[in-house]
Every structure is written in structure tokens, then in C-alpha cells.
Symmetry: C2
């Protein structure tokens, strides 16, 4: 196995950081690596807000559901889907032509562009000895986050990412068996479902060991709870207000 | 600069492949690395269809807008957002409880999960000496692709990815200046727009050199064309038919 594969396979989310700072130069190095990820037709429809001010991180930590590591990490990155830069750049060439930035397709392009760049950033950061954790909680109070960071129309925060030097060595959570996610030439529900049953046992064992016997809820039960729980129902209206009409 | 950073920064999309095969074991290695990417609350809401059958690749190439490399590459991966596995796993625990899989939030979670895993796969493949190119064209005739691959409800193809040993050495397309995408503590439109003007010149130069003087359209003009062009307007209705209601 080569060094890159070991790095990828060794990933675990880090939620506790040492006091060692992350320099602006390191952040720039990470974002430059992120920029080299593929992008749909070279639109590069994403932006990153690197948050280093303590007060701002504290406000964001509160808005993300009081996740302390958002304020404790040296740098908190907010990954945004960004069609605003595109629109501004295009505007002077458009005269009165109709434009289609509000489509579901363009929403997807910008969201995917942000995610591909972010994952490159995650890998880059880990290669430098840093640890990261993605923060979906940035979408809890997304309107407030957008205002706090001064995001213009057609820009929305997709997720956050804490970055810092690890001060913990968490165990690695097992993933679904390969057969659950990899299909050859045709989608195979039966094979995938059988693998899920196997995973239920693996995850119960893992949780039981990690919690000293206190927890052992199978994955499928956790997923049932998740699906039965309404989550971030404000998303569609928020996006529409921001110009992502999802037409 | 460490080895991982050089790999990331050296990325270019590969659209011409040698006849050297990619083995199923290599594909498994790549997908295992993909699986270690972060995933929202461990939902792992994505699946990959690895297409190796020539006839199937040829059908897909046609559906992707006749991109020859889709049939010429040894393995074509179709990355899918997948809430179906989650729903099946959850179902027996849910009895008659209402579920919320059709929200915009869950659509985003599954799409982002697929993208993060795919970018890990891209990096893994490149670390093994392989080349890749993302294929957004999979969304051109997305309904036909979904049927061809036997995708159940709540699964949709996000993008394709050709994989194979490179038989070309394309130049690297310059990216936007760092200042266009990286903001500190607050979104800065002015700085971003100034960087775009600079990029217009860089890209014109790049295109002029690459085309021997035949092309030099600035980036902002290309983006104007893109925004003025309706693209994949079927996406929302397709997603809704597939259970992604975007509520």
C-alpha cells in the first residue's frame, strides 16, 4: 500500500486540538491543494471563509449547536457553494440575456464543487499532520451564519471544517462492508442489504467496546431514528431566499 | 512540500487511456479508500456502480453526450447518492412512523457524501498511477442512466468517473487566484472580483498558447455563456420522481 492510500485509510475525525497554531501560510497551502480538485466545466463555484478570530469562532460554535471544537480549533473553515462570483464575472457580458443560475442543476454543481475541494483540503491537512472534522451543524442556523460571514446572494455555507493539531487519538469507526457500497455493472439491493445486516453486528460490537458496554445500538436502528427525525426543514426556503431557487 | 501535496497539486483530468487493464482488486482498493472519507453522522449515503462491461460502457458513453472516453476507459464508476439503503435498513424498525427522507437537507447529505467519497477515490487512483476524469454528462440523460443501471428509488447518479492508465500528458489548467476563493473571517466580494479580472488574462493566455492562437476567450465570457445556457432543466422533476422531493 502506498503512502497516500495509508493516509486516506487512516482518517478519523479530530475534535480536540493542541494549542499549536495553524499559520495563514498553512491554510493557504491547504486551499491551494483544494483548488486543484476537479471542477465542473472550470466554474470553480465555491469559496472558503477561514475563520481565525476567536469571537467569531465562538459565535459560530453557538450557531452550530454548541460544538466546542468549533471555537477551540485554531482555524475554522466554512465551505460555501458560490454562484455569486460567477454571476458577477458574467454580468458585464450578459446585457439583457436571461440567466439560469437558479436551477437545481447549478445548485448541485456548486455544492459538489465545494465538496470535492473540501475533501482535497482534508487530505492535504492530514498530510501535514493536522486533524479535521466536518461540521454539518453549520446548516442548523444557516441564515444567521450567512449573515455573520457577510455572504452575498447565491453563496451558501455547505459545511464547516475544524482544523488543528490533534490532541486525541480516537478509534476508527468501521465502515459498511465494501459489498454494501460497491456494485458491478448493476445495482444489487439484495447484496447491499445482506451487508447491512453484517454491519449492524460490527457496529454494535464497536459501540459496546468503545462505551464499556453502555451502548450497542445497531446501525440500522440509528438510521431509523435519523429518518424519523425532521432535520433542518428550513433548508429549501433558505436556499430560495438566497437565489438558489431549485427550479 | 510533502508527497501527498504534490500529488494533489499535480492533478489533471485524463481523457485518453492505455490498454492496460484496471483489475477488480484495484477498484476495490480505490473504493475502500473512498469509504474512509468523512460521512454525515455515519449515514454513508452513497453507492458506486463500477461498470466494466464494454456494451454497458458504450450505452453510457452515448447517454453522456457521446464522450468516447466513457467507453474507452477500462472502468467507469457511477457515483450515486443513495438513501435507499438507509431506508431499507431503517424500515423494519420504523413501524408506522413518519419519515423525512425527501427533504432538501437529506438530498444534500447524500450528494455531499457521494462527492467526498469520490474525491478520496480520485486521489487514491492517482496515487496508484491511474488517471481519472469526472463526468457530469451522466446527468444529461439521467433517467435512462438510472434505468440502465437498475437504480431503485432514492438512488440517483451524481456524476461518473473514468479510470485508467493515462495515455496522454495534458497541461494543467490554471485555477483562480487564491484570493478569489479564500476569504478571512468575512466574505470579500471586491477582492474576489479583482482576482477574477486577473484570472481572465491568465486564462486567455493559457487558451491562446494551448490552441496555437485559435482560442482566447476570457473566463468571465465563458461563464456568461454558461449562465445564459439552460442546462439539465429536467433535474428537479427527475429527482422528485425518484423520491428526492426537495421539500
Amino acid at each position: 500500500m502506498n503512502e497516500v492510500l495509508s493516509l486516506l485509510k487512516n482518517h478519523r475525525s479530530i475534535r480536540k486540538y493542541s494549542s499549536q497554531p495553524v499559520t495563514p501560510m498553512q491554510v493557504e497551502e491547504i486551499i491551494q491543494a483544494a483548488q486543484m480538485a476537479s471542477t465542473s466545466s472550470n466554474v470553480q463555484a465555491y469559496s472558503v471563509i477561514a475563520v481565525s478570530e476567536l469571537q467569531l469562532k465562538e459565535r459560530l460554535a453557538g450557531l452550530c449547536g454548541n460544538q466546542a471544537y468549533v471555537s477551540e480549533c485554531p482555524v475554522f473553515l466554512v465551505w460555501c457553494a458560490d454562484l455569486s462570483r460567477l454571476k458577477s464575472a458574467a454580468e458585464r457580458h450578459l446585457q439583457d440575456r436571461e440567466t439560469y443560475e437558479g436551477t437545481t442543476e447549478n445548485f448541485m454543481v456548486a455544492t459538489i464543487d465545494a465538496a470535492l475541494a473540501a475533501q482535497n483540503a482534508a487530505v492535504a491537512a492530514e498530510s501535514m499532520g493536522l486533524g479535521i472534522v466536518y461540521i454539518g451543524g453549520i446548516r442548523n442556523k444557516i441564515e444567521e451564519v450567512a449573515e455573520l460571514l457577510g455572504l452575498p446572494e447565491l453563496v451558501y455555507p455547505v459545511f464547516g471544517m475544524c482544523i488543528g493539531y490533534p490532541d486525541q487519538e480516537p478509534g476508527q469507526r468501521p465502515r459498511l462492508p465494501l459489498e454494501a457500497v460497491l456494485h458491478w455493472n448493476k445495482y444489487d439491493s439484495e447484496c447491499s442489504n445482506a451487508a447491512v445486516n453484517q454491519y449492524d453486528e460490527v457496529m454494535s460490537d464497536y459501540l459496546r467496546k468503545r462505551s464499556g458496554g453502555a451502548k450497542d445500538t445497531p446501525w440500522s436502528v440509528l438510521m431509523a431514528e435519523k429518518l424519523a427525525q425532521p432535520s433542518r426543514l428550513h433548508m429549501r426556503e433558505f436556499l430560495q431566499r438566497r437565489g438558489f431557487e431549485l427550479k
